[in-house]
């Protein structure tokens, strides 16, 4: 098998696995963390399709901005930290 084909299969596997994990995980922050891997995997897939610019913009916008925005949204609405008692 060609090396780039193997690499593509690995990346695609990571992307799909991360996407499934987003749906399965209970903890919402972990879901965001898996979503990052999904976005990065999609970006690398774009690079495999010879669309380097699109892939890099995917990482820049989705991981650098959208994900952090989701994190801000989640954290600012959450009332208590994990484990232990309620935290003011």
């Amino acid at each position: 098998m060609d090396l780039s084909e193997l690499l593509f299969l690995i990346i695609a596997g990571i992307t799909v696995g991360a996407a499934i994990s987003v749906l399965v995980t209970k903890e919402i922050i972990r879901a965001v963390f898996y979503l990052t891997f999904c976005f990065i995997g999609v970006g690398i897939t774009f690079i495999f399709l010879n669309a380097e610019f699109l892939g890099l913009i995917q990482v820049l916008v989705y991981v650098g901005a959208i994900n952090v925005l989701i994190l801000f949204g989640v954290m600012l609405t959450k009332r208590r930290l994990t484990g232990g008692g309620a935290c003011e």
């Binding site: 922050i29 963390f33 380097e52 610019f53 990482v59 820049l60 650098g64």
Partner: protein, 363 residues
Amino acid sequence: MVETTLFSLLHGLALWIGEVAQWLIKVTGIKEIQFIGDWAVTGGPVNFLTILLVCAIFMVAALLVGITCIWQERKVLGRIMDRRGTQVGMLGLFQNFADAIKTLLKELIIPRDADKKLFMWSVTGLIGSSVLLLGLVPWSTRFFVANPELTLLIGLAVFSLAPFFIMIGGWASNNKYSMIGAMRGAAQLIAYEIPILMVVLSIIIMTGSLNFNVIVAFQQTHMWLMFPLFIGFITFFVCGIAESERVPFDLPEAEAELVEGWQTEYGSIQWGLIMMADYLRAYVVSALITVLFLGGWDGPTFLWPEVWYLIKVFFVFFIMIWVRSATVRIRTDQLLKIGWKRLLPLSVVNLGIAVVMKAMGWF
């Protein structure tokens, strides 16, 4: 004339060594091991080994420059505060290694209520993305790892990963101080990324390329971009200090209020690597300023271009230390006011100047 790059030099060396090995194996006359000699001169293994060697050499050199920045900061801060600074070894040069050994020997403590997986993964991601930045900035046209067309964009994309990992790390520590520090850090990094992108856009308009080599070649034929884009240079410098979380903008780790910010719960080698990643990012910011505004490796030919590059990087870092020692930490409202009301309009003005200069045909 084809210039001898690090890759072609090492490639030639590896081929030569392979041929010598092949000859030696032939001399022995043992038929069974001759396939090793044939393998040593084929293209695949030689290319692979050479790429690994180039990466290793560049990595070690860039890391050495990064830790020299730490040494420089300690010495210069010491002189400014009228003391001697670090003293371990010759001129204090071994202080970094002593610190590394100290942090390696400490116990790695993970808080009981922390989210263990994310606690480890976030710091891995932060350090990985910071170290990845090292390989992107070429030192000259012959000393580099890779030279893709979109180097600048790759650098900015990797740079923008940091706030995400900082927030995850602060959340996973399960500590309110870490949490507040992480919030501040992410807010600051996102706010100051916008002016940086605008200034970079003005440079792309001027030079018409995202490749560092082309940008520096443009500055060699015309002039250093800090003169026409002076406003952008100042904006980029201030934003760069904020992006590397150095003193006037070190709100994320304000010791007096937040213990150590988002990295409070990290100890041992994790803390050591986080600090190293901080300085590596500061080094990358000064390298970006050097390449984008100060002409990169441009300079009189009596010194190697790499030496000019390093001189400029250390000079920019020296000014960053100077700013650090001369200013105090600003408040959150001042931080946001400077970011959104001063630097963002300035970067837009800078973009307008670049567009006008390009449209008038002066460059």
